[in-house]
Amino acid sequence: MDTSSIGAQGTKTATSPSALPRLGASTGRAKAELSGLSRQRIRTAWLFLTPMMIGLAFVAGWPLLRTIYLGFTDATLSSIDSYSFIGLENYLVYDNGHWYGLLADGLWWKSVWNTLYITVLSVSIETVLGVLVALILHAKFPGRGLVRAAILIPWAIPTVVSAKMWGWMLHDQFGVINDLFMTLHIISEPIAWTVNPDTVLGTIVAVDVWKTTPFMALLTLAALQMLPKDCYEAARVDGIHPLKVFFKVTLPLIKPALVVAVVFRMLDALRIFDLVYILTSNSEDTIVMSVYARQALIDFQQIGYGSAASTLLFLMVFGLTLAYIFATRLKLDGSGDH
């Protein structure tokens, strides 16, 4: 049915012989009514969105833009009001036969390496552990509810608290870990876990895994509970080995949820700060990007340089997340599995 016939229907009651111009007017009004309705819906949408957008602009948009801008200046904490625009000098500059700036700083690159090392290792291990824990929690056993609640404790403790706690447990002289390992004859002499360059990154990863495995387990458990039960009965009737069922049925079906969980954890791990800072303070062995930025901003009072570091951190997180989303073809619009 074309528009003229709609118009004709609209003017069916009209007895006027000059139907043609009225027909046009009628279609025009129908359009106006339709767009009037959608205009109202658009207006309502804006009404709901505006307060949030204003809030976000203040708490996220403005600081971000300000940080990016300050990264192009020579601002310091002592002269926060008088600074000048220096272009890309905070990032990279050639002066007197030497390269200066963030991209020429070995410590910055060390912090990038440490961050990536912690992220990749920690997220991989906690994903595997999280799935294992979730599979156990998904099974039926007495006291399941209690175990499900208990397993969440590491995730519920604030990182500052758990980092301090682990700091004491890992203490080279008084720590329970050394005592335990000595008693079990796993090590022959106490190890300064958080100081020894050989063990410190591994220690940080271990504590991070301890803390965040419950998160992965919880998201995986939620995904497991959504799985169609009858498929598993069909697999049992067909006599398919449980391991094959896990890899061929369970894993593909919970993959969308796992991918989202990994995105969350990756975002978190890339900007890891509190755990590293509390366990190892400003140690250069364990420096990560956030700690580097904090050092420049607070300890050295170089607002401009620190802002440049923060901007690079932001770009790194942004870029890696985008790359991951594209690599896994994750659909954030909720249009089903991939």
């Binding site: 009737v237 067909d238 398919i240 094959k244 079906l253």
Partner: protein, 366 residues
Amino acid sequence: MSSIEFVKLDKVYKGLNNFHAVKGVDLSIKDGEFVVFVGPSGCGKSTLLRMIAGLEDISGGDMYFGSRRVNTLAPKERGIGMVFQSYALYPHMSVYDNMAFGLSLEKASSQNIDEKVREVAATLQIEHLLERKPKELSGGQRQRVAIGRAIVRQPNVFLFDEPLSNLDASLRVQMRIEIIKLHQRLKTTSIYVTHDQVEAMTMADKIVVLSQGRIMQVGSPLDIYNSPANTFVAGFMGSPNMNFIQVTANGSQLAAATCDVPRSFEVPFQHQGAATLGIRPEHIELTPQPGALQLECQVSVVEHLGNETLLYLNTDVSDQPLVVAVAGEKSMQIGEKLSVYLPPQCCHLFDANGDAIARLATTKPN
């Protein structure tokens, strides 16, 4: 191929109430038979099927496939193929992979698997769907795939758990016929669970009517229809339901129990005391019959089904309206008075416990 034998089979769900789902079921199913378990929801028919599949533990009694006791055998060792009500297809796999998934572990060569899958797909006319995912299929197509997945493994026993109940009416009839044809071709022992008595009547070699975990009657569809063993089977099988009238029997003379004026008529049964007279709506006549009980009625509801007309009649012999099925179209006014006739050879008589009383003469209902 396999025959199946149940001996005093029991199923108790351990819990607060210790729900007794299946109570002492004895049954033997012949090799190649198509058996339908029918009953209202909660009667234990699905539990029984899942016990055969090995998805539910057996609490008591024995189950034999042929001469092999299978009580403790894992599902895969029983050689069964099962079709679920919800299809239970793997949502992330193509139709092909769904069908091939169960085969790949049997160490069959990939070419062999491919041949089998394509052969079964051709049988079920789903060849063109092999590359699709389940969500891209209609309900009927999914059901075919689910059946295909069961067939492709060439099981000894097929189990169907209400496979057609998610389909619309016309598709259900079509799939029903296809499953029957398939059984005629494959001749595999099949057990089919349904709550739909039409499916039971049309598909079964043998119907098992269950209620509250017990077998009420086992028999061919016509046995069940013509000689229901008790009031439960009589009332459950047949649509519209059989009419029941409370009567008092004195030898072969019956008198309506609730009727003010006792009228008696002679039936081919021998019984003393309270009893229930049953007669199917399609056996009640509107014209005088020799020896028939004449009842004066008033029309309360008329249902026109096109091929037949259902009359709901108020009588003085029962609180329940008497339902009469008349072939073709019949115009009747609400409140209209008429006489109906109950032919004695079409009547069923049940004792106070609801069990059928044996018919005396060899006269069979028509």
